[in-house]
């Protein structure tokens, strides 16, 4: 059994207690809701896109430390990135937390690597990916709320 600190790293706890980019964005072109019915976590992601880049991003909602910190770190990561770059982050992040790929420290996930321990907790993978799935839906303008179930 892995050590607690593998999952609840300081960076995660910090982003849970002091989430970055939390709040609403008015008149955004991209917005989506996501929920994890199992935990009762829910998140709304607001994105402003300009010239194919994430100009501004916020999230609202409530959830566990893993889902909140993931949303917070996600907003920091994708802000200013092109849409293709954002999607590439999602793919890599997803592979890392589902354990389908060993993280290679050079592959540019940066701070997001604090979530690498999640792959040992299969029931928590949904918490870590909720915000990302929701961002994806927002960028694709999907109307249906995202559900991890």
């Amino acid at each position: 059994m892995s050590d607690l600190s593998d999952l609840y790293q300081d960076v995660i706890l910090d982003h849970y207690k002091r989430p970055r980019n939390r709040g609403h964005l008015d008149d955004t072109d991209h917005q989506a809701d996501g929920q994890n019915p199992l935990c009762g976590d829910h998140v709304t992601v607001f994105v402003k896109v300009k010239d194919d880049r994430v100009e501004e991003i916020r999230f609202a909602g409530s959830g566990c430390a893993i889902s909140t910190a993931s949303a917070s770190l996600m907003t920091e990561t994708v802000k200013g990135k092109t849409l293709d770059e954002a999607k590439a982050f999602f793919r890599k992040f997803h592979d890392m937390v589902t354990g389908s790929q060993e993280v290679d420290h050079g592959d540019g996930l940066g701070k997001l690597e604090v979530f690498s321990g999640v792959c040992q907790y299969p029931v928590r993978v949904k918490c870590a990916t909720l915000a990302w799935h929701t961002l994806d839906a927002a960028l694709e303008n999907r109307e249906e709320p995202v559900s991890t179930e």
Binding site: M1, L7, Y8, C39, G63, C64, I66
Partner: protein
Amino acid sequence: MSLITPTTARVEASVTDEAFDAEELRRDFPALQQSIGDEPLVYLDNAATTQKPSSVIDAIGRFYREDNANIHRGVHQLSIRATDGYESARLKAARFIGASRPEEIIFVRGATEAINLVAQTFGRVHIGTGDEVLISHMEHHANIVPWQILCEQTGARLCVAPINDRGELILEEFERMLGPRTRLLSIGHVSNALGTINPMERIIALAHERGIPVLVDGAQAVPHMKVNVQALDADFYTFSGHKAFGPTGIGVLYGKHDLLQKLPPYQGGGDMIASVTFEKTTYNAVPHKFEAGTPHIAGAIGLAAALDYMDAVGMERIAQYESELLAYATHALLSIPQVHLVGTARNKAGVLSFTIEGVHPHDAATILDQQGVAVRAGHHCAQPVMQRFNVPATIRASLAFYNTTEEIDALVRGIQKVIEVFN
């Protein structure tokens, strides 16, 4: 089949004076003998399912090794033994909950199937457009959704009796909701999310005064207290084997004999018929009419072993011990300032639903798990209860008679660790 003569003076009467030895009883449960990482397993998820004593595991093994055959139609020895084991289990279950005859026991998959069965047989016959089904605000989804389905099919209305801030049914309001159109009251004996023990006798009497039949969901009651369906005067009563130290996939629906006789069958198939031609089929007698197809024979036999086990320990002693353990645990949790109990009914079974300030229940459960403490976090299949108390989820520690005060201490240490991590 014969009427059951009440078996007088069980062992329990003579042993009540003896101290209850949970440590000793634990040894009968192989799954409790393990460690999670470096920590001994502290299993506090008994409301979800209980662990099984060796006698249950052995009974199932023995059946498959020695007696396995299909029941009722065979003339060979194995079939006779299998039929005997299955029907003895029915008799055992009838005695255990105080039914007046074994035909009143229908084997089902569990409480969920039992409630669906009542909804689709009793409900389809007796509940129509404009009629009402009354439940309470503390029900498990298993006692909500089957009624919503029925209401959709029939145009009936689902009414919900409110609960107070302690998580108790508000009796005056409840009484007022027993109206002229109420055709059935379906209510939990003990709440799985809050631990509330409902005053069942009183509730049933109030319903019967108005001629309203009552289905009791006893999934959380039967494993923890002495239940007598005749003393309660319940019309239907159900419980799940797996929450009562028995196997999964088997449960009991009790129904009063005359009520059952008048009901249409639930599913069609083998065993539930007396004769079949393409023109006309006549149904078998109660309870077989409700048991289409090959039932879970091994499950019934395992359940009987579980009921034997509980009988040997004694339900009164179990209830007494668990109530002392609950008092100990409640006191211990309340001594942690960041902990808030959800569900503080004055009459309560061994369920501790709580939240920890600043910590999401799922994070708490993960950290507790790393210390070997198995609890549940979530809505416990009772989302309306969560909404009532305005929490997205709770952490739930639920007790069985094999839990000890040392395990409660481990839970408390675990919670302190959770608070430390999140501080």
